[in-house]
């Protein structure tokens, strides 16, 4: 699944570690989600949406 995490981080001048701290997960997790190696569960996707103050569909995008 595609996502806009990198752009959204950049807009806030956050590193992957900063986002990981906000989400209370490891930096490895943020990197795996951001690079599309791992699709987060729905609860984690909602937490990510809450951190950025956006709906999930503005962060995670359909393939193709």
């Amino acid at each position: 699944m595609k996502n806009r995490l990198k752009v959204l981080r950049a807009e806030r001048d956050w590193s992957q570690s900063d986002l990981a701290d906000h989400l209370q997960v490891s930096r490895q997790s943020v990197n795996a989600i951001e690079t599309g190696k791992y699709d987060p569960s729905l609860p984690l996707a909602f937490r990510i949406a809450d951190v950025f103050g956006l709906p999930i569909e503005e962060i995670f995008l359909r393939e193709g």
Binding site: Q16, S17, A20, D21, Q24, V25, S26, R27, Q28, S29, V30, N31, A32, I33, K37, Y38, P40, S41, L44
Partner: protein
């Protein structure tokens, strides 16, 4: 560096250290007792099984790690590692068994049982995770 430190990994590390310390004590105690006494019957069975208990404890500790890890991505890496280890162990033991069935290798295992190969498999599973996911788990 993220400040996330997995409490599950910390607990696992402590459990592993305790269980491995117990294992070392029990394996030496059992060996010494069997060499220097004429222990037999039920006590002998109990003593022979005693060093296996911390090994079984390690299986429990690994399963608890899977249950207690709150970071879902790290948990997924641990699960992949365990599945790799299980597949590796079953493969090695099955091949070995057939080689023994046709008398191509000696009977017995020379002290290298299923647990040994499962633990080797955990190590290889970490390498597999690194190669395919770019990470091996942990709390960094």
């Amino acid at each position: 560096m993220s400040t996330y430190k997995s409490p599950a990994i910390r607990r696992y590390t402590i459990r592993l250290a305790v269980l491995m310390s117990l294992y070392v004590m029990l394996i030496f105690a059992a060996g010494w007792t069997f060499r220097h006494s004429d222990i037999a019957g039920l006590p002998a069975f109990a003593l022979a099984i005693a060093p296996a208990l911390p090994i079984i404890g390690v299986f429990w500790a690994v399963m608890r790690l899977l249950v207690e890890e709150s970071d879902e991505y790290i948990r997924m890496l641990h699960v992949r590692q365990c599945l790799f280890a299980t597949g590796f162990c079953l493969t090695v033991m099955t091949i070995w068994e057939f080689l023994q069935n046709y008398d191509l290798v000696p009977a017995g295992n020379g002290g290298f049982g299923a647990a040994f190969f499962w633990f080797v498999g955990l190590g290889l599973g970490a390498v597999y995770n690194r190669a395919t996911m770019g990470a091996i788990g942990g709390s960094a």
